[in-house]
Amino acid sequence: MCGLGGVFYKTTEHEQKTGEIAYRILEGIYRRGPDSTGVALWQPNENGLLYVGINCEVPGTGAAVIERLDELGTVKEACDGNGFVRAAIAYDGADEELVDAIDALGPGITVGHIGGHVEVIKHMGGVANLEANFHLKDYDGQVAMGLTRFATESSIDFTHAQPLSARANRDLALMHNGHITNYHWLRYVYEQMGYRFATRNDSEIIPVMLLDEMNKGASLEEALKISVDKLDGCFTYIVVTADKVGVVKDRYASKPMVVGETDAFVALASDSQSLREGVLTDVEVWELGAEEVATWQL
């Protein structure tokens, strides 16, 4: 099933804390996906750091991961969230080399996401664990979009928790509610083209597809529209990039997504109750239609 939701503030000045709104929305849609919860946050990042999110499936490996990060670059901030490491590092090498070096540390250790503006945090269970480990409510930037996962195909662990991204590519966080039925075929095609996959989660095909289309020259909006044709199955997904937030619904409109927009913010959620409880106002909402694609510029 999975629940999707979050908020995008159009300006840096805003009335409520972004993290608190996202917390309430994700708490509201918890029953749609109790397995794990993850959020993509947008960071202004004036110091040119690299945000790295690393899955550490083996307990107690977080410290070694942070140590290795400090060898590869300089760790400015790091938090061992007991299964997932969140870090901001000064790093000027190649992204692929960093990801390869971390992935080589041992079984169960993989880079989940890297970004210059987009940071991913995720944890098992509900959003309370995100708060306990990463203080989600303290976040007050412009974007906090998340997913509560109800796993149907792949493992329930940090690696397969969402948001997902295309391996070793910056600023592309994807949250998908649904099931991609031509995943195996598409994965074969993209692997032949040289793309590497980090998980067995069918949702990972979406960021890879978007990246491939954008590498071929498409804008984000165009890539989102192409994905509606190329993906088979049912999907509603949210994508957060360095400068945009996008949302897409499949041609059967099989998964819910309501949108509430004011002059100040755009709020998204799988149901209107969670959305309104999140933003604490009785905002007008509309449901995204079949094949509909919407994007907002940061």
Binding site: Y252, P256, Q273, A290
Partner: protein, 235 residues
């Protein structure tokens, strides 16, 4: 016999949905004519399985399956509704003053569901009888697999309108993005139009200039192995 109160109000804040629905059913049992729900906060499953006549006024937005599985009730929703409003209604009336999300009036067997604003995808899916009126636009696959009854959409409809409908009729005032499989556009009868205009007038919905009628062309009623290409397209 003790005097029956005319209107009972219940504030939904902090109360479990089960308690609110039990309150409505008890009021119906007691012969209370009107129940008013305050602060519904888009909660799911409000007014579900109420089987005795009562008028329910909901002051705000409702979530999924509002007034579902009910019989002989009349409901005013002063806000928007989530998925499946009026699900499987037997008799009665549900009026949504705002918009409705996916699958408005699914499988209703009788009564009337009115959405004054826009309705989402699959409105009137598997309609088995009764009437669905949409004042604004209606989404993808409106009237999908409907078996009987009538759908009236004053605005525009998205793709696959009336796809695989068996019987019944759909009336569209605006544009049709794409017709679904196994249906055709015909000219409405004068008495049908008359009836529709009276209904719209009753609900104070502005009628469009004209209506087109969609019905099954019966091409999918029986499988024909010699016409396999048509079936491949449908499936």
């Amino acid at each position: 016999m003790a005097a029956v109160k005319k209107t009972l109000s219940i504030d939904c804040v902090g109360k479990p949905t089960r308690e609110i629905n039990a309150f409505i059913r008890q009021a119906a049992d007691d012969g209370v004519p009107v129940v008013e729900l305050l602060n519904p906060q888009a909660r799911h499953n409000l007014g579900v399985c109420v089987l005795k006549p009562i008028h329910i006024v909901i002051r705000g937005h409702v979530g999924y399956y509002a007034a579902g599985l009910s019989d002989h009730i009349t409901v005013e929703i002063h806000g928007s509704a989530g998925w499946g409003v009026g699900d499987n209604l037997m008799h009665g009336e549900v009026v949504v003053h705002g918009n409705a999300a996916t699958s408005a009036a699914p499988s209703i067997r009788g009564g009337t569901v009115v959405v004054k604003g826009d309705a989402g995808p699959r409105s009137g899916i598997s309609l088995k009888s009764g009437l669905l009126v949409v004042g604004g636009n209606s989404g993808y696959m409106t009237g999908f697999m409907m078996q009987k009854g009538r759908i009236v959409v004053c605005g525009n409809t998205a793709k696959a309108l009336g796809d695989s409908m068996y019987q019944g009729s759909i009336f569209i005032g605006g544009s049709i993005e794409e017709l679904g499989s196994g249906c055709e556009i015909v000219v409405p009868e004068a008495d049908e139009l008359d009836d529709i205009l009276k209904t719209l007038d009753h609900y104070q919905i502005k009628a469009p200039k004209a209506f087109r009628k969609i019905r099954s062309d019966k091409s999918l009623w029986n499988f024909n192995k010699h016409d396999f290409a048509a079936w491949k397209d449908v499936l």
